[in-house]
Symmetry: C2
Subunit: 256 residues, 2 copies
C-alpha cells in the first residue's frame, strides 16, 4: 500500500517548534511535504495575496520530508502547494501545531485554521491543531498521542467534503489530558482595548490588545472541554449560510 | 427620534467610488461615521494586525459624515472604530459597496464581508454590499434603491445576534434588476492557476490567477439568483460548527 501523502502547513512559520513536532509525527504515518510561510503569519485569517507576488524555496531540514518556505499567507501556501509545488495530490492536509489556542471564535482570525479551511474548499480532508500555550518554547509533546490517533482516524474514516477539524489541546501535562471531546464552537469574543502610544514625531498609534471573554458555559462548547482537560475537536464548515434564519429573512425582505 | 448611527467601512479603501456611493446613501438615512482602510485591502479576509501597530487620521471629505482613514485591514477598522474612534455605538454597520462580487465562497476571502462579520461578532447588525463589477469606474447607481430598502428593513426588523447579511448586486442595468432573493451560499470555488514569471535576478515568482468554478445550479443558490438578474441576500453566521456532522464525528472519535 502506498503511504498517504500528507501536506503540512501552519501560520507561525516553517521553523516554529509546533510545525516541526507535527512534521515529526506525520513522518511516522505518511510521506510528508511541508509548504509553510517563511515568516510568522498569525492573525492573517483567510487572507490571500492578490496585489503582490509570491515565491518559495526548498529548504534542507532534518527528516525524510521535503520542506518549502513560501512568502505568502497560510492560505497562499495551500493554494501554491496544490497548483505548483506538489507532484501528487495530498490525502490529508494538517496545519499547526499552532502556538496558542484557536478554539471558539478564533477559528475566523486564525491563519492555522484558515489553511485547513482552504484545503477543505479544495475538497481535501484537513485538520488544524493548536496547543493552548502561545509560548515559543511550549511543550508540544503533550498532545502527540492524540494527534496520531486523530490523524489515523481521519485517514481511515473519510470526512464528508466541506468539513475540516479544529483540534485544540489543553495546556495541561500529558498524563492529565482526559481524552477527546467532539464539541461546537463556543460563543466567545475578544474584548478589544487598544493600547494608545505616541511616536517620536508626536503622532498617536495603537497596539491591539484585549482579553478573551467566554460567554458560553455549555457542556458541549469547545472552551468548556478545554477547561476540563479534554482535547476539543470541532467539525468546521465553510458554508456560512444561516439556514435557520433563511425563511424569516425571506419574510422580512418580502415585506414593504 | 434620534437618527440611527451608521458605521461605514469597506476593503477597497476610503476613497473608492463604491464606499463614497454607500456613504451618500447612508447620509439620507442616518448619522454616518466612516472608518475605512487608507489603502486597498482586497482579499484580506478576516486578517487582523497583531505584530505591528495601527494609526488613523480624520479626513475632510464632502458631506455631513465624519471620515477616518485607518492604516489596517477592514477588520482592524471595525475594532479600532468601536474601541477608539466612535463616541456612540452604531445601530448598524455597512461595508462596501465592494468593487466586485462577494457571492458564494468569496465570503471567506473578502475583506468587505469580514468587516461585516466582525461587526456581527461585536453584537451589531451588519450588512456587506458588493456589486458584480470589479472596475473602479463601475456604475454604483444600479442597486441604490435596493440598498436603501435593505438598510431600512434591517433597521426596522432587528436581525438575530450572530447573523450578518451578504448582499450582491448583479451587473445589469438598474431597470433590469428583477428584485431581491434570499439565498444560500452557492457551492463554488476558485480554480487556481498561478502565473509563473522570472525576475531580473533569475528567480521564479508567482501571481495568483484563476477562474471561478460554479458547481451549483440550485435555484436557492446566490450565484443562480445573480445570473438571473436578482439581488442576492445571504444570511451569514460565524458559528462555523457543522452541527449535522457532530454526532457522526463523535462516533468516529469514540472508535478504537
Amino acid at each position: 500500500m502506498t503511504k498517504p501523502h500528507i501536506l503540512v502547513t501552519n501560520d507561525d512559520g516553517i521553523t516554529a517548534p509546533g510545525i516541526r513536532k507535527l512534521v515529526e509525527l506525520m513522518n511516522e504515518i505518511g510521506e510528508v511535504t511541508v509548504v509553510a510561510p517563511d515568516s510568522p503569519q498569525s492573525g492573517k485569517g483567510h487572507a490571500i495575496t492578490v496585489s503582490s507576488t509570491l515565491s518559495y524555496e526548498e529548504l534542507s531540514l532534518d527528516g525524510p520530508q521535503r520542506d518549502f518556505a513560501c512568502s505568502g499567507t497560510p492560505v497562499d501556501c495551500v493554494k501554491l502547494a496544490l497548483d505548483k509545488i506538489l507532484t501528487r495530490r495530498p490525502d490529508l492536509v494538517v496545519s499547526g501545531i499552532n502556538h496558542g489556542a484557536n478554539s471558539s471564535i478564533n477559528v475566523i482570525y486564525s491563519g492555522t485554521m484558515s489553511a485547513a479551511v482552504e484545503a477543505g474548499v479544495e475538497g481535501l480532508p484537513a485538520i488544524g491543531f493548536s496547543l493552548c500555550d502561545h509560548r515559543w518554547e511550549a511543550d508540544f509533546t503533550q498532545g502527540e498521542d492524540y494527534i496520531r490517533k486523530i490523524v489515523l482516524q481521519a485517514l481511515e474514516n473519510p470526512m464528508p467534503k466541506g468539513v475540516v477539524l479544529n483540534v485544540n489541546i489543553p495546556n495541561v501535562k500529558k498524563e492529565e489530558i482526559k481524552g477527546i471531546r467532539v464539541c461546537r464552537q463556543a460563543k466567545a469574543k475578544w474584548e478589544e482595548s487598544f493600547d494608545e502610544r505616541v511616536n517620536p514625531h508626536g503622532r498617536k498609534y495603537y497596539w491591539l490588545t484585549g482579553y478573551f471573554n467566554n460567554m458560553d458555559k455549555g457542556e458541549d462548547a469547545d472552551l468548556t472541554a478545554l477547561d476540563n482537560g479534554y482535547i476539543s475537536v470541532v467539525p468546521v464548515k465553510f458554508d456560512m449560510t444561516d439556514y435557520d434564519y433563511l425563511p424569516k429573512l425571506q419574510e422580512v425582505m418580502d415585506s414593504k
